[in-house]
Every structure is written in structure tokens, then in C-alpha cells.
Symmetry: C2
Amino acid sequence: MKKLHSLYLFAVIISFPFNALCQSDEDMLKIIFDETLKNGHSYEMLDYLSNEIGGRLSGSPEAAAAVEWSRQEMIKLGFDTVFLQEVMVPHWVRGKKEIVRIVNSDRMGTIDLAACALGNSVGTGDQGLAANIIEVDGIESLKKLDKKKIEGKIVFFNRRMDPTRVNTFAAYGEAVDQRVYGASEAAALGAVAVVVRSMASNDDDIPHTGTLIYKEGVKQIPAFALSTNSANLLSKSLKAQQGLKLYLEAHCKMLPDVLSYNVVGEIKGSAKPNEYIIVGGHLDSWDLGDGAHDDGAGCVQSIEAVRVLKNVGYKPYHSIRAVMFMNEENGLRGGVRYAELAKQNNEKHLVAIESDRGGFTPKGFTLTGSETARAKLISWKPLFEPYGIYDFNKPGGGADISPLEEQGTALIGFLPDSQRYFNLHHTTADTFDKIDKRELELGAASMAALVYLIDKYGIDGKN
Amino acid sequence: MKKLHSLYLFAVIISFPFNALCQSDEDMLKIIFDETLKNGHSYEMLDYLSNEIGGRLSGSPEAAAAVEWSRQEMIKLGFDTVFLQEVMVPHWVRGKKEIVRIVNSDRMGTIDLAACALGNSVGTGDQGLAANIIEVDGIESLKKLDKKKIEGKIVFFNRRMDPTRVNTFAAYGEAVDQRVYGASEAAALGAVAVVVRSMASNDDDIPHTGTLIYKEGVKQIPAFALSTNSANLLSKSLKAQQGLKLYLEAHCKMLPDVLSYNVVGEIKGSAKPNEYIIVGGHLDSWDLGDGAHDDGAGCVQSIEAVRVLKNVGYKPYHSIRAVMFMNEENGLRGGVRYAELAKQNNEKHLVAIESDRGGFTPKGFTLTGSETARAKLISWKPLFEPYGIYDFNKPGGGADISPLEEQGTALIGFLPDSQRYFNLHHTTADTFDKIDKRELELGAASMAALVYLIDKYGIDGKN
């Protein structure tokens, strides 16, 4: 009888989730962080994604390679299920190198500025275009001008990101309307093209691309980013010489939509397999760099978060997914598709976590959710403080996960240090050599730790 | 009468310290951070110190240039007094490139390892030296061995920095005894030389130099750092082949002491001019890189902290000094000299702040001081939180300021993010391109803000 009893107890122990019986939360977080820092896979994965595959704009062969790579990677790591979700994505191509040239400087003659076309921009045609320039401090300033001053001109949006904003994403948010909507606002007033100061924290020679959105019913005009140094030079030159002209040339165009995929890797939940906690990033990137920080980092951290939980032997109650979203940069089609399918398949998504602010030292997590969820998130702060992670009280989520909000999913954004991000965001400088291994790993570990806590305790008070 | 009253009031206002009358502390911190982020000088100063002067080991011409540069810089910025403090410093020179070579690998023949001499090491002589190798995990492991196993051998210290330590300085502290004392411990047991695994967070091909201290009465033997990759290769090769030999060559030597200087820039206090708050870094660096992070950053942040307070119109009660200490890296003579002179001149030093952990995103400040001082420091945390600075409860100070402790000075260490520091510390990779302007500036601003608060409220409860 005694023997039988022991055997029964043993059976209970091995079938019971790992964490509940054996570990305090403090110990479990230590196990998670140690595994990530000692045996981490994220840096190696990102090396491959960045250096072997490289920039992977939606619709490109590289984006297709990234889909297949991440599918294989999650199979290799032994996730329970790995599958693709079909999604049609836009296919914009940059074409040969753009030209933005001051053609008649009294002082310097002809000067090529450091520039690139904005994403989704139409081209100029092979003949290019030349026109006078009018500088404005943003869309509001533009709208105050007499239409006659704008007609036939190139509008130069030159509002800088506010350097006194400690959160650089706030500075970005205040300045980025020029890039997204400037072209249509200017076209509506008769402009022939726009050049926009790069959304950059620093002064240098690297132009930052990024999406623009054309308003329906407004003429689509070409749009370019200037490096901050070039914007400064152009502004100074305009002050010295009213009749300054720019010659613009871009060969970009929008091709027909292409079939692509979200890539999902899943560990099945032991108690509530049809309730999901997801952790994701976006697999597409701009074409100029290799997209190491935006958002290769978020992808490999998401895969790593699930791998770590699996490898330390944690058996989740809920199903856990790593999701590689497609097409965040210029369409958000993958995020929208993911939410559609979740609804269609009656999958209850408790929480979606996104990492899309670069692979820097973690500071905390932002939340879009109920007050109960916020209180719960904040209650975990003491568990994270030994890892230098302390910021749990800011609103926010992530672009790809935002379509899940209407299904009642709590949205959580991974919040790393933001000081270096806008030196490289959407540029040729967003490359793997800018990744610090430990910073990347600490982010992955913090995401795994948060998934563990949510899985164990729930977060919206209803689990 | 009314007019006279107004005039009197006006006189009171202009003679009264700026902060006390006009600004809340929240506003004053905002003014300090905004000035630093909008009109900062630190990045430009560090560019000069790193790129024009470069590596500046004590006793070198570059160290002399750094003294003269910082003196001129603080005069240009209009500090009330700028002066030098004489100090004799050691003068160690590396000589031509070192050789650490596996000479008899069965599998690979001859292999040059990535290595450099440790600072203060003796050379091998032109003939070099060759011997068998014994690998140990640290000084404790070495001491457990039979002396016969060590005699005539090269001791290879191969304990790695613990990657699971989130605070990389803790991992450094646990491993660095091999580098500092390994040579004498090995020599005492009959070893002919030591090679030491670099104090590095990552695996790469860059050796990290750093000071060693020879024990009196023990034979001085040559000591080298191996890059982490080279240490891994050597360890693996030793496992495969017992009789492996290394050939070592180093041409370094210690020359006679040289006259050098601490450089001090001062703003006179309005109420207590003979009571001091100092903020400093060390002007010397190792010779391999340009010392941008270690500790050019600390120097320019210290100058900038004083500049900012001056430029926003703050009139301190106490005298404020920016101190560029000489010879932190291989002697600490400048720090010792500064404390001697403070005592000799009856200067009461309330607080000494040092920045010597790199120019990364600020996280907080460490303290060596009374419980009253700690409580005060922690009470200011809410003022710093809007700037992402939250860590005020750890012990610590700084090497250069440590000799002031016995005079009752509270010691404060600037605490930035530590994840990247030990990728570049004491190496050819510690160069200006690794500096982020915003990170550097946020550090300088946080130091200025702390000086302001200490000046206004005191910190040890007795001011």
C-alpha cells in the first residue's frame, strides 16, 4: 500500500505543472534569466536573419526567406506546432538609387543631398522633376500658407524631433505626421513633391525611410527623406538664396500584392489549450539596412521567450505562441489577418505581447488593458527589479497586436531603452553590428518571465 | 516709498540664489536636462579628447595633452578658477606588439593568439620565453595544486565572467583577481609567466588589458591577457594535447615616474565657499583604445555638469568642482593626491561624485555614506524618475574619490547601464564611435541635477 501511494504521488508530481509545485516566482525568474544569458539562442538567430537574409520588405524574396527560416527555426526548436497564416501584402520596390540635388546654389553650384524615397512613394519617372522649394515646420504650418505659395513647388517639411524628450518615441510621435501624411497634404495644395527631414535623434548623413500614406482622391506625388545634416544644409541654403531649386529622381513603384505569411509557433497549453498568450514581432523590415533592431530583434526574442520556457521544463496552462507578423512596416496586413483568424477560429487571446522598439536593455512593459490588468502588471514589478526592469505604468502596446484589442485582449509592449533607436530606425545603419548580445538576451528573458507570470496568474482578473 | 520698495525687492531677487526663489525642483531638473540635451557640450568635448588626443596612459605625451586640453576647456567655459595639482605618476610603456603563440599544436602547428600585455607587466626580453602551460580556474584553484606542477610553467587563468550576473561589474569583480594578483601568486609557486582570460562579457578576438599589481618580494614575471576566443581555443587545445607550449614575447617596461597633474575647475560657492561638492572622472586611460568610455565620458560629463549649472544661471551655495583625476588606471596617485591636498588646505568636502562606468544611459547613483545620506538620496528618486533614473539604493562610489572617505566625505558613483561596458573596457574597441550622444548627455544632466540637489539640501544631514 505504501509503495502504491508513493507511486501515485510521483504520478501527480510529474503531471503537475513544473512551476506550481517546485519553484517560487523569484526562483523561476532566475531560472529563466540564467537560461537566456547562459544558453541563449537569440543572438545567433538574429545573426542569421540579419546577415544571411538581410533587409526583407514585404513582398520581397528576402521576406519569403525570412518566413521559411523562422518556420524551420521553430520546428528545429521542437515547438508543438508551427504553421503559416496566408496574407496578401503590398509589394513596393525602391528601384535604383534616388537623387535629391540642389541644382543652382550660388555658393556651391550642384550639391547632392543624402536622401531616399519614403516607403510607398510613387517615382518621378526617368526624367525626374525640378522645382523651387518652400520650407515649412510641419503640416499645421503648411495649411496656414496661401495655396499660391505652394503650387508647383516642392514642400520641404523640416520639423525636428524634440531632443528634450527623454522618451524618443514621444519625439518621434510628435514629428512623424509630416512623413506619413505630408505628401497628400502638400499635393492637395498643389505641390509637386515633398522632401521630409528624417525622423532622427541625431545629426548625421543617413536618411531614414518609413511609410507614407496617400489619401484617397489626392494626387500621389513623390516623397523623399533627407538626412538631418542635409535638411540643415537645405534650410540654411534656402535662407541664403530664395530661388533655390531641387532636382528629384526616384524609380520606386508599387507592384501587385503578393502572397505572404505570418509564421506561428505554438506550445500547447495543458489546462486551457484554446486560450492564448502570444508574444511577437514583425518579420518584415525596410529594405535599406538588415532590420536587426526593427524588428529582427523582436522576432528572435519572441521565439527565444518560448524556447526558454520550454527548455527550462515549464508546462504552460494556456497555449503560448511566438508570432512573426508580416507587413508591419507598410500595411499592417499581417496583424489584421492574425486578429481575423483568431476571431474566426474562436481562439481566446488573453494577452498579446509585442517587441518592436529595438533590442536594447529592457526597462519594462507598457499596457493597453483594464485597470485590473494594470494593477496585476504593476504587482510583478518587484520580481523584475533585480534585473534592472522597473517601468510598468505606461500606456502602449504594439502595431501588429493592436487589431486584437477589440476582442478583449490585453496588449503589452516590450519597453527597452530608447536612446539609440532613432539613430538607426529605417536606415542603412540598422544592422546586426548594432546589437548587443546581453541587451538582446535580457529583453528575451524579460518577455519569457512575463509570459510565465501571465500564464500562472492571468492578467485581466478573469482567468 | 513704493518705488523704493520695488527696487529693494528687485535687489533681493537678483542677489538671491536663482533656484531658491523661482523654481520648483521639478522645474529646475527640467531646465538642467533641457539645457544638456539641447545645447550640450559633452559630445563635442569627448570627440576632441578621444579622436584628437586619443589613448592617454599616465606619463605619456597624450596624458600631458589631456591635462592641457581640459585646463583650457574649463577656462574657455568661464569657470571661476581652473588649476592644476602636481602629482608624480608611474610611466609604463607597452613597446612593440606582443606575441602569444602556440608553437607545437599537433593539429594546427603554430597559432598566434589575440593577446596583449597586462598593464605594469615586465617584458620577456627580446629573446622571449617558451614553456608548457597549466590551466587553472582562478587563484584558489592554483593554490590547491602541487607546486611541482607549476614550476617552470606558464599559468593560464581561465575563469570567465559569470554571464548570469545582470550587473556586469559584479561579474568583473568576481573574476578580476586573476588579472590583478595572478602573476605574483603564480610566481610565488615557480611559474615563469601568466596568461589570463580577458575580463570580457562576450566572446570575441579583442584582448582586454588592465592593471596588475606585483607583490613585494615576489619575482616579477610577464603577464598577458588573452581574448576570450583565444582563451577558449587554448583551453580546448590543452585538453586535446597535454604537452602544448606557448611562446611569449613582450617589450613593456616601467620607466621612472613622471610629473603630471589633476586638473580642477571651480565655481565659487556664494554662502560656503570653503565647502565643496566635486564631480569627477579620470583623465588617464589605457593605451589601446582612445578611452572614450573609460573614462573620457566621465571627464566630459563632469565638466558639462558644472557648465550646465553655470549656464542655466544657478548660483551654488557651496563651491562646485569638476575634477579630472590623473592615474586611476595604474596607480590611483591622482585620487590619493587630491585627498591629501584637501586635508592640507582644510577644504571640507561634503560629497564627491565620480563617473567611471562608461557613458551609457543613466540608471541611478550608488552611495558610500551615512544612513542619513542614503535616505536623502533615495528621497530624490521621484525627481529623477521622469528621466528613466530609478536606482538609488546600491552601495558604491568610485576609485578616485575613495581616498576622501576618511575625511567624512559622502562618495557617490554615477550608475549607468552596464551591459555593453565589458565588451570594450581596456581594449582597442573603447573608441568614440561607441558613444551615443543622448546617453552621454543624459548622464551629464543627471550628475548636474544631483549636484544641484545636494547643494540646495545637503546630504549628510549636517549641512
